[in-house]
């Protein structure tokens, strides 16, 4: 019995490991390439992680550096180029600013609306909820063109506002928080009213703290979506590097390729991908629960 079972288990593990290898393949390619010298990349040598033999940086020479000063290791040269050929720090900062601003504004707008929809009776509530449900059907990416035209008419393209504004109201966020608020007992709100809280105090001091799991799930959903978003920034940011988000910056890096740039480009990709992947690896349970919660609405 045990024997038959373990044969079965072995087969399952074999399948799962094969799958894992395919899934991890590009991550490996990214990491390995970011560590290798141009010669190793071009010839496909260098083993898994490159030999890290000392080399002279071509890029450094072209910029007029002395040969001795340009002696470096492949990994160092790749990352140095990633950060000097393009303002990568700036891109990262922009990514943080944009994702944080989007999430904060989404919360600021969605939480009171969700509270009103879940717990207050007022004229037009059903209509407002119907509007939210309808808006859930509209992917923002699909209406990018008219949104772009509207922003262009307002003269707002190539600005932080253009990156942030279309996302500040999330029908999904309102819906998710409303579903969560529905489970908060009415008694708790009445108790808060008896204790002397107004509706605003109830939202921020009672509802929000009880809804932390839902809010966290929404935060993960929102940050992952907007840190990785490429389509919208691509449309509204044209040319001005100081406004580039990380994916835009990487895309620009890809512009001219002649073999020698693969190392620095993969280093850039690694820098861009790492924050979320690292956060996920640290707080896996939270991420998966959060994605499940936002997924299953």
């Amino acid at each position: 019995m045990t024997h038959r079972f373990s044969a079965r288990q072995t087969l399952i593990h074999a399948i799962l490991i094969l799958g894992a290898l395919i899934v991890l393949l590009p991550f490996y390619v990214m990491l390995a390439t970011a560590l290798k010298s141009p010669v190793e990349i071009a010839s496909g040598t260098g083993g898994l992680f490159g030999a890290q033999a000392p080399m002279v940086s071509e890029d450094c020479l072209m910029q007029g550096g002395a040969e001795a000063a340009c002696l470096t290791r492949p990994v160092l040269d790749n990352f140095r180029q990633a950060f000097t050929k393009a303002p990568l720090w700036r891109y990262m900062l922009n990514g943080v600013i944009v994702t944080a601003a989007i999430f904060l504004l989404q919360t600021l707008i969605a939480v009171p609306a969700a509270y009103a929809l879940a717990k207050l009776k007022f004229w037009g509530r059903d209509a407002a909820f119907a509007l939210v449900m309808f808006c859930l059907l509209i992917p923002v990416h699909a209406i990018a063109l008219p949104l772009y035209l509207m922003l262009a008419h307002l003269g707002l393209t190539n600005s932080y506002a253009a990156l942030i504004l279309p996302w500040i109201v999330s029908a999904f966020g309102i819906f998710l928080m409303r579903q969560f608020f529905l489970t908060v007992p009415d008694d708790l709100i009445d108790a808060a009213r008896m204790d002397g809280m107004g509706e605003f105090a109830i939202i921020w001091r009672v509802m929000l703290p009880t809804a932390i799991p839902a809010l966290l799930a929404f935060a993960i959903f929102s940050v992952v979506a907007h840190w990785n978003d490429y389509f919208w920034p691509r449309i509204v940011i044209t040319g001005d590097r100081s406004l580039f988000t990380p994916p835009l910056g990487l895309r620009e890096f890809k512009g001219d390729l002649d073999g020698t740039f693969y190392g620095p480009m993969m280093a850039t990709a690694l820098v861009i991908v790492t924050p979320l992947v690292a956060a996920f690896l640290v707080a896996q349970r939270r991420f998966i629960d959060g994605i499940t919660l936002t997924g299953m609405k």
């Binding site: 004229w123 037009g124 407002a128 990018a144 029908a171 490429y230 994916p247 990487l250 895309r251």
Partner: protein, 315 residues
């Protein structure tokens, strides 16, 4: 009520607070989501371009073009084909991975983590990595394949041809490009489906399996048909819907790797909207494609809601 001013009644205070709290959200939903839909619908009947004053109305011409011109027919073919390939495979792989992961005694969380990684990583960044991995000469994939030359693998005609004439240019051969993009799409999304299926599986009551055992259900397949698959019904409806809507919106890989080519074989709708409406400033055409696209997406969502309405009530 004679002695209490109406406005002081708790119901009225609540109603006032409710309207005030919902107002910003409603206003923004109307401006940011509803108004653009209307704008797109109107502009789709025009030849408007950004920067030119005045607007010419062309009636249904843009729509007629979509259905008659071969490049737009190719657009619809590419989009539908991409969706039809990506969705079933990524849903099936998601379910398969979830079932396998549920059945292993050790390492479940390791596999779950690994399979979920692509969902976290920027698709654009990973697309560029894939492009490099699939590079005809430098890429790991073709190099690895080339190592199989001269072995028994050459018994496979496709492989033998690859060894003789070079392995495919995955992204610049029109016979392969769309399939390669679909593969990247599946690679990126099936972990998400897996996580949803894992959640769905935990909500299947264990007692059902015990009852099935008592009722004489022996084979794993019979258990799956009798319990697992029907119990996962709502999950499947949701996973299929969300996968479909997401794959309809594929853009990053197309823009970064193929630009809709070769020969429009990967000219999907969102990319067409971007290229026509924004890059080439043919706003009317872009708007018409937008309207068509919204139609597709809403049709799917409405179908899904109809499907689950009997089971789930949001009110």
């Amino acid at each position: 009520m004679p002695d209490t001013p109406r406005l002081n009644r708790p119901e009225h205070r609540q109603a006032r607070a409710g309207s005030a709290l919902i107002a910003p959200a409603v206003l923004l939903l109307l401006v940011i989501l509803i108004l653009p839909v209307a704008v797109a619908a109107i502009l789709s009947f025009s030849d408007y371009t950004l920067g030119r004053s005045g607007i010419g109305w062309v009636g249904l011409k843009n729509y007629a073009d979509i259905f008659t011109r071969s490049s737009y027919r190719k657009m619809i073919t590419a989009t539908v084909l991409y969706v039809l390939v990506t969705v079933p495979v990524s849903v099936a792989l998601g379910l398969g991975a979830a079932l396998l992961i549920r059945s292993v005694r050790i390492g479940a969380s390791f596999y779950r983590t690994v399979y979920f990684l692509p969902v976290m990583a920027s698709l654009l960044a990973m697309a560029i990595v894939w492009e490099f991995a699939l590079h005809p000469s430098l890429g790991l994939v073709n190099r690895t394949l080339a190592q199989g030359c001269g072995t028994w693998l050459e018994g496979w005609p496709w492989f033998a041809r690859g060894c003789a004439e070079g392995f495919p240019l995955w992204l610049s051969d029109r016979d392969y490009a769309l399939w390669t993009l679909a593969f990247i799409g599946i690679w990126q999304s099936f972990g998400f489906n897996m996580v949803l299926y894992l959640a769905g599986l935990t909500s299947v009551p264990r007692d059902l399996y015990a009852a099935a055992e008592m009722d004489g259900v022996r084979s794993g397949w019979a258990r799956f048909r009798l319990i697992t698959w029907p119990m996962l019904g709502p999950t499947t409806v949701f996973v299929v819907t969300i996968s479909t809507i997401r794959s309809f919106q594929v853009f990053d890989t197309v823009e970064a790797l193929t630009h809709g080519g070769p020969a429009k074989s990967t000219y999907v709708m969102i990319y067409a909207i971007y290229e026509k409406g924004i890059a080439q400033n043919l706003v009317g055409m872009g708007a018409a494609i937008t309207v068509l696209f919204l139609g597709f997406v809403m049709l799917i969502s409405v179908a899904q809601r109809r499907f689950v309405e009997r089971k789930v009530h949001y009110a």
